[in-house]
């Protein structure tokens, strides 16, 4: 299933390992700030200790002693929370499938991402540290998504999350509704859309059965088929389906297909989820919600409402938020949660939906999304309350390394915009750039 890893990748991984070992020497304590761990109650005056790339301690100031070798950062008056997790982003100019057909699950977006895109620097300025980068919604299946950690990068390989076997992590982007309807070979109706998807999954089931029957016997193995292989990953729940859907009936159609084929799905955008919240809750599927400044722009978002997050929370549906950057600006991701609170979502759930809830939907809930000992040291230092319009992201840390500092003139340009703020940036290979660790 896994393509052999090329030597270059191994070399880069090796360099990173060396870097990580060096980072392990570095201990930093953020002392005196309000700490929002997400996984537990807010700590009014807390300390967060990071050792290398990992969180080593979190608690009230008087309960967490600062190690003797720690660099002390005074966070008095500031707020610390986990790095934000964006479950749906298009940063980096990546593309999925082309116009040749509506179902292209073999296409990987990781093969097309420009890591020098200024958008990544803007993400860090917004406090984002993990993204699910998705192909578009113009196909029924537009390709494989990729989960990235916003380290300083020379190539996309530096950004990847990998599983234990070294495979890049991501899901499969699917879509229904109006975006994927166009001239043949694309579907012209919703019924046709569902039929095409079902036909492909039926083929994938047969392919899976052939693989199982062959039991590794080369004489019996079917020819390798990258499209079906990707769908088998979905059927075997090794990949989550990230499904674009707006209208209530489109949401229900996704749940019907999920029931038939038994895959895991996150429902994305869900403009009309407020109409079918009990049905979503019953299915157990999670929702990744977009928060917009107004309804419309296309027919399927005509009944968009700010109440979606609140209604899903009431119904007990796991709920994350996303930017859909460039639809909303990654630098304003905190605002998305604040608007959900404006329309009735609880503060706790809204902050969770920016972090831990999204991490869980990407299958990364054990590594990121909360300030817990042992998790990656991805965190954001804020000037004030995360839901206030006045609050600024002051610093962003990824695996213990400071990757954004508002006091740095170059970083500030990406935070507020200005001349040159959208130009491609020079690359910085993972782990061999300026001093690794909590200092720049």
């Amino acid at each position: 299933m896994t393509p052999p890893r090329i030597p270059l990748l191994a070399a880069v991984a090796c360099l990173c390992f060396v870097g990580a070992a060096r980072a392990a020497d570095s201990v930093t304590g953020f002392v005196g700030g309000r700490v929002i761990p997400i996984s537990g109650p807010e700590i009014p005056t807390g300390t967060v200790v990071i050792r290398g790339g990992t969180i080593a301690a979190v608690g009230p100031v008087d309960a967490v002693p600062l190690p003797a070798d720690a660099r002390r950062i005074d966070a008095t008056g500031l707020v610390l929370m986990p790095g934000l997790v964006d479950t749906h982003s298009h940063v980096g100019g990546g593309q999925g499938g082309d116009a040749s057909g509506p179902v292209q699950p073999d296409v990987r977006i990781l093969d097309s991402i420009n890591v020098r895109d200024a958008g990544f620097r803007k993400c860090l300025a917004g406090g984002l540290t993990t993204l699910n980068i998705m192909p578009g919604s113009g196909h029924l299946a537009s390709g494989q998504t990729v989960y990235v950690k916003l380290r300083r990068a020379g190539t996309i390989d530096d950004l990847l999350y990998r599983d234990a076997a070294g495979r890049p992590l991501g899901g499969l982007k699917m879509a229904n509704g109006t975006n994927s309807q166009k001239e043949p070979p694309f579907p012209g109706t919703r019924g046709k859309s569902a039929a095409l998807v079902r036909q492909k999954f039926v083929k994938a089931l047969a392919y899976r059965d052939k693989l199982a029957r062959a039991a590794g016997d080369p004489e019996k193995l079917p020819d390798r088929d990258l499209e079906l292989e990707s769908l088998v990953d979905v059927l075997e729940k090794r990949k989550i389906v990230h499904h674009h859907c707006h209208r209530a009936d489109d949401i229900i159609t996704v749940l019907r297909l999920r029931e038939e084929f038994g895959f895991d799905v996150v429902l994305h955008h869900v403009s009309e989820a407020w109409k079918v919240a009990p049905e979503i809750a019953k299915s157990g599927a999670g929702c990744s919600v977009i928060v917009l400044d107004s309804p419309g722009g296309k027919i399927e978002a005509a009944d968009f409402s700010l109440i979606t997050g609140a209604v899903l929370e009431e119904a007990g549906v796991p709920c994350a938020l996303h930017t859909d950057d460039p639809v909303t600006d990654s630098r304003l991701f905190l605002r998305t949660a604040a608007l959900a609170v404006r329309a009735g979502m609880s503060r706790g759930k809204a902050l969770e939906s920016l972090t831990l809830a999204g991490a869980k939907m990407l299958g990364l809930g054990d590594r990121i999304g909360s300030l817990d000992v042992g998790k990656d040291a991805d965190l954001v230092v804020l000037s004030g309350d995360p839901l206030s319009a006045k609050t600024k992201v002051l610093q962003t840390y990824v695996e213990g390394r400071k990757v954004f500092d508002r006091d740095d003139p170059e970083d500030r340009l990406f935070a507020v915009g200005g001349f040159g703020a959208s130009r491609d940036q020079k690359a910085e290979p993972c782990c061999i750039g300026p001093a690794f660790g909590a200092t720049r």
């Binding site: 309804p295 419309g296 109440i307 460039p326 839901l387 915009g417 001349f419 703020a421």
Partner: protein
């Protein structure tokens, strides 16, 4: 807390249901009442905010503004209360009402691609007062918008100023022909079939075409007054529309983002002595001195406008432009702008909030969506501040209006309560 939130959700659901119901029924017509709007803080925009102030509205007009303790309130007045009271918000540039939320050909009347220069197109002939985005904007406190033909053609057509109430454009309109909307930059290049055979294909050609049209208008006006009636030209609606611009009665609104396009707008305005209003102006911070010297006001792009990349004209925009222009003393307003996709409109309340978080003072940011906006679009005698004799347009909030988690809890237009659900 939990109970309160449930209530809020239920209320929002009711609002959403009502919005859907509105599609089926004719909109309710709101009736002017005698109102006393009392706020812990009242931003009159004529001086420092009042603490525990009240605004009295009778027959659609403001009758009194002052401290609650010393201002006479008519016994018949209906009392509205809130933490913060502001003038009804003024959106200095929108396309709502011409551009509908569906974003389908049948509800997009903001831009006719037929010709490059069409100043005769009137906004009043295309405004749909039943458009759902009007209710959406109003729910956040917006009561007046400057709307009309969109950026994207060299001269797209006219704009107008409307109140966000009324069942017909005649009931809604404040100024039927407010400005003539022009654009300089990449977006004026023709698109679609035979695009390469149409003009303007270059920036120079666009400016040449614009100058030619103003020269033609001058000639037309000269010949219209010839002694020999037989030599007078027939009435030409296009040139009549530009005549108002040449006479300085109607401002030319020029959307331009690149600094060199802004410079072209200033050059043309100087040549023909036009009243210029700059629009969007992403790179205006590079030309602060020239814009100030020209005495030209700027309606700045939505603070949250997408910057794009890869050479997009807005790639250099900044959250801090409003602050930098205001600091230089350039008159500014903020706008919801034109959106071609999702979201179909922005909300000036949020755009001002973000500008206020990036260097613009609270007072200047609020002025940019009330009195300063009203001045730039020419309706400051009617709206934009809470003053005796002005229209009874008020927005009520349960906290700092620029905080995302604050709600707009009441909207009044011409003394009629348009909404009182928290939004």
């Amino acid at each position: 807390m939990r109970h309160g939130r449930t209530l809020l959700v239920v209320r929002h659901l009711a609002v959403a249901a009502a919005a859907v119901a509105l599609l089926l029924d004719a909109p309710m017509s709101a009736v002017a009442e005698t109102l006393a709007v009392r706020g812990d803080v009242v931003h009159t925009m004529t001086g420092p905010p009042l603490t525990d102030g009240v605004v009295v509205i009778e027959n659609g007009k403001i009758r009194a503004v002052g401290p609650a303790a010393t201002t006479a309130i008519p016994p018949t007045a209906k009392l509205l209360r809130g933490a913060v009271v502001t003038p009804g918000l003024v959106d200095a540039h929108s396309v709502v009402g011409l551009a509908g939320h569906l974003n389908q050909p049948q509800d997009q009347d903001q831009l006719d691609p037929g010709e490059a220069i069409q100043p005769e197109l009137r906004a009043i002939d295309a405004y749909n007062p039943q458009e759902r985005l009007i209710e959406w904007l109003r729910g956040f406190g917006v009561t007046t918008i400057h709307t009309g033909h969109a950026p994207g053609a060299l001269v797209a057509g006219q704009t107008m100023v409307v109140k966000l109430s009324g069942n017909t454009v005649e009931e809604a309109v404040l100024v039927p022909a407010a400005m003539v909307a022009a654009t300089l930059g990449d977006s004026t290049r023709p698109q679609g079939e035979d695009a390469d055979k149409k003009s303007p294909g270059t920036r120079s050609k666009a400016v040449a075409m614009l100058r030619a049209e103003f020269v033609k208008t001058r000639e037309y006006l000269r010949k219209r007054t010839l002694a020999d009636e037989s030599k007078r030209p027939d009435t030409d609606l296009r040139l009549e529309a530009l005549a108002g611009v040449l006479a300085g009665k109607v401002p030319l609104l020029v959307t331009a983002d690149r600094a060199h396009d802004i410079a072209s707008a200033l050059r043309i305005a100087a040549e023909f002595r036009l009243r210029l209003v700059l629009d969007s102006a992403a790179e205006s911070y590079l030309l602060v001195d020239r814009i100030k010297a020209a005495g030209v006001p700027v309606i700045i792009h939505p603070t949250m406008r997408r910057s794009g990349g890869g050479g997009a004209e807005t790639e250099n925009l900044s959250f801090e432009t409003a602050a930098r222009l205001a600091e230089a003393g350039i008159p500014i307003a903020l706008q919801s702008g034109y959106e071609s996709y999702v979201p179909k409109t922005r909300v000036v309340l949020f755009e001002a909030g973000l500008a206020a978080a990036h260097g613009l003072s609270f007072e200047k940011a609020l002025a940019a969506i009330t009195i300063d906006a009203a001045r730039i679009i020419g309706v400051a005698d009617r709206v934009g501040s809470l003053e005796v004799g002005k229209d009874g347009d008020v927005a009520i909030y349960d906290g700092d209006p620029f905080e995302y988690t604050t709600h707009c809890t009441g909207v009044v237009i011409n003394g009629a309560v348009m909404s009182s659900e928290p939004r």
